[in-house]
């Protein structure tokens, strides 16, 4: 419910004329920024869970991830509908002109299989391990989203740097965690061997 607040606020401001002189641009930017925020939040769950050992956090991950997809869809729809008004020829010409659109589009498309396979049934059908591998696509989406944001602005300010740093930190955490896991495994191996024998 709280995750819908940004949308409600945006709709409220839109209806009351509180947006700027260029409301379509406001809607594009606002949905875009919430997409990247939810992507960062999704990525933050696992590290938080490991650090705090609050394993219940995992129940929020799917919902937050789906909200990232939800705002991403609104953002994409805004572009297709409000910004370009279904002018497919213009869109096709626009995309190669604007690398930031291409990378945004790629990031968004990679979220589709994740959203589709988010149900319990799909997780069971794929099997946990394959599902895990598939859902690592979010790492690419997150990096793509940061590049999208950096490429679309005229001058890079602290905002783009903040998101890029957050994504980098969250991915680095996973890498370090994995390396730590591997080294732990190594030190435990001699002890394991006799057991296995």
């Amino acid at each position: 419910m709280l995750c819908l607040a940004p949308l409600i606020l945006l709709a409220w401001n839109g209806l009351n004329g509180n947006l700027s002189a260029n409301p379509i641009s406001d809607i594009t930017n606002e949905t875009g920024i919430w997409t990247i925020r939810f992507i960062v939040a999704t990525l933050a769950i696992t590290p938080l869970r490991r650090i705090t050992r609050l394993h219940g956090l995992i129940t929020f991950r799917r919902m937050i991830g789906l909200f990232a997809f939800f705002y991403g869809s609104l953002h994409f729809t805004t572009y297709i509908w409000l910004d370009q008004f279904f002018d497919w020829r213009a869109i096709l010409k626009d995309i190669p002109k604007r690398p930031f659109i291409m990378i945004g589009f790629a990031s968004f498309v990679l979220m589709i299989p994740l959203a589709v396979t988010s149900t319990q049934k799909m997780i069971r059908r794929l099997g946990g391990r394959r599902w895990d591998i598939l859902h690592r696509l979010i790492y690419i989406t997150a990096v793509g989203a940061c590049i999208h944001y950096i490429w679309l602005v005229k001058v890079v300010t602290y905002r783009q740097i903040v998101y890029a740093t957050l994504v980098a930190a969250l991915l680095l955490f996973r890498l370090l965690w994995k390396l730590r896991g591997e080294s732990l495994q190594k030190t435990h191996q001699p002890a394991k061997k006799p057991l296995a024998a």
């Binding site: 700027s20 409000l82 604007r98």
Partner: protein, 319 residues
């Protein structure tokens, strides 16, 4: 959104001619009075006359040949949706933070290859100039546009008064540098102070304007008070705001956005739908207040008047 902005239909279309003339005459007298008040307000005691006019009923004094007949962008939009990085990178930052800019007293230094170099008080620059309303299209490099009724005088007038030497091939401009008044200058968003430049023939062109007001009122700070350049056939960032220095130079002067990203912003930066910005298309634009995008016109619709300045130039190379 767009529906409630359908106000400014040209009265001649709906009113019979005689009545229209009378009204036009009345408007002219009325707005002369107001323009006079606006000019007065530029003198030392800067009296705000912001309440004097409603932008919907506003009509230009001295309608000029170059005026566009397109619907004016509302005063509120022109003064709340700005790019003025000296006050922040968001569109609403200038309206929010530009209040701290001190525009009194104001002086403009004129230097370089010129017969009358000096630091001029703004009042002395404005003395003897008759202010004209000019309704210009304004096209931002980001792909949005407005129609703005400026109040000002031709840049050429000032140039002639200070008598440049023949060595002067370019005119360079500089915005005020005062980080304590302009919070954006405490960040490194751009290299400060903001600088811009024109070739001498561009600067002398009758369309090039030094604006001191809009909608018949003195300029709000966020729109570049107290004096700014307006070059309507170029992208908005060429029209430098809050000018404190004008230099007459021999070689191509540096310009702020070109310094920031040279491959994206050229010295000329003429509005040109055929030459895209490296990261986005320039073929269309969204007029503020409208839903559908419209086609961008060559030289922002001023090709008849300015194309001659660039004959023989490759505008792809000199973008």
């Amino acid at each position: 959104m767009a529906a409630n902005r359908k106000n400014d239909i040209n009265p001649s279309e709906i009113t019979d001619e005689g009545l229209y003339r009378n009204r036009r005459e009345f408007m002219r007298t009325a707005s002369l009075a107001v323009a006079g008040a606006a000019a007065l307000s530029l003198l030392p005691k800067n009296i705000s006359i912001a309440h004097a006019q409603d932008s919907r009923t506003w009509k230009p004094n001295h309608p000029s040949q170059s005026d566009t007949k397109e619907e004016l962008t509302p005063f509120k939009d022109i003064t709340s949706y700005n790019n003025f990085y000296e006050f922040g990178v968001d569109k609403d930052d200038p309206a929010q933070y530009a209040g701290t800019l001190k525009t009194q007293p104001w002086s403009v230094a004129v230097d370089g290859h010129v017969k009358k170099p000096a630091v001029y008080h703004l009042e002395d620059i404005l003395k003897g100039e008759s202010m004209e309303d000019r309704i210009y299209r304004h096209r931002c490099v980001e792909g949005w546009s407005m129609v703005i009724p400026w109040l000002g005088f031709p840049l050429a007038n000032l140039i002639k008064r200070v008598e440049p030497a023949s060595k002067a091939k370019y005119v360079a401009f500089q915005t005020k540098f005062a980080p304590d008044e302009m919070p954006g200058q405490r960040t490194s968003a751009l290299r400060w102070p903001y600088v811009e430049g024109l070739r001498m023939d561009e600067a002398m062109h009758p369309l090039s304007l030094l604006a001191v007001g809009l909608y018949g009122k003195s300029l709000p700070n966020q729109d570049g008070a107290p004096i700014r350049l307006v070059v309507p056939w170029k992208y908005g960032f060429k029209s430098i705001k809050s000018i404190v220095k004008i230099s007459f130079v021999e070689s191509l002067p540096p310009t702020a956005w070109n310094l920031a990203t040279p491959n994206e912003y050229g010295f000329y930066s003429n509005v040109n739908p055929e030459v895209d910005h490296p990261r986005w298309s320039q073929a269309r634009e969204r007029r503020i207040g409208e839903f559908f995008k419209r086609k961008t016109l060559m030289f922002n619709g001023y090709a008849d008047q300015v194309a001659g300045l660039y004959s023989g130039m490759d505008l792809r190379k000199d973008f």
